[in-house]
Amino acid sequence: MKRMEFALDLFTVFTLTAGALFFLAGTVGLIRFPDPLTRLHALTKVDNVGLGLVVVGLIPQADGWVGAFKLVIVWLLVQLSGAIVTQLIAGAIRERGPSV
């Protein structure tokens, strides 16, 4: 039982670290990339993969099945709104041209 818990904790540490790396990379991209469309691209990686890894890592630590379910719902909602808001911003950029 102890060994199982240790393995789950290790899994959490590993996935959270990987998720944090994605957040870091996305933030660097947001600051360093040259134009709005590529910056949006960097941001969506953070939304999808970074938050996904964090959620997957937190599931073993969650408060039972309901807690895990809520975490997954949060991830899905962020995916949905993130993808759509990115589309809307990109559409606005295409219409008006990138404003500096």
Partner: protein, 313 residues
Amino acid sequence: MTSSFFADAGLVLLVLAIGASTIFARKAFDAAVAFVVYGLLLAIAWVRLSAIDVALTEAAIGGGMTGTLLLGAVARLRSAEPDSTRIGLPVRLATGVCCALVAAGLAGALLLLPEAAPTLAPAVRENLVHTGLGNPVAGVLFAYRALDTLLEKVVLLLALLGVWSLAPNNAWNGIPGLRLYERPNSTLTFLAQILPPVGIVVGIYMCWVGANDPGGAFQGGTILAAMWLLVIIARLEGAPSIGQLWLRIGLVLGPAVFLVVGLAGLVLANGFLAYPPDYAKPLIVAIEFALTISIAAVLAMLAAGPPKQVQQQ
């Protein structure tokens, strides 16, 4: 010096930095965006202080709702005539000094708190059983500080009256001049079709769990208002004209139910805003639901702005 100390210290530094960038931002739009971030960071700070109810309210009202209002104001200012009068240095200095004085006063009050702050928390915890509620915050809001909670909702209505009073005479009872998204069948339409069912469930859940866990009328109402605004902005449903009877009833429903229950307390319990002991919880939950509807309506109408067009017949 634990790792959580460093996390907290980093959070404090972030809050201060974002606060400063809100003040020193050159453009109103940048300041409004920074203010939203500031609200979200404050929400995390409240979580660290174990005040989940406050954190939820801060994220919903401080970040989301106020941010929407500020962004709306920025958009309105942009389309208005550019103001040529520059604010002089003395006025700006005086504003800065006044703000600094308020901040210093608050900081002083906080630092001069006695070691063991006078608290009523144990008394509340002991008597919470009588309200039938599990969430001490809801207990305080609806049992011990009910008058404050009632007046707070009336203040919301007054704020809406303030916004509506900006309407030109011929647009009174017209439709709020909210800026809609121009393109039909866009991804926003898709979001406005798929998100509200989820959002409505979450909003009602927030209100319902408020009796026993963090949540409540304000948090739930804000989510419902956001869903309504999303549907309106995506043009799936038109904004109602402010003269609609159902809208007016929705706006005053919460405070009215609260007031009726409060007055009934004069007869059925010990006084104004007191609950009969056996029915405390059902009454409080009923008030919360009515308040959620009113808060959702008021917040959505606040964000929608003063009426602009005359209603089409």
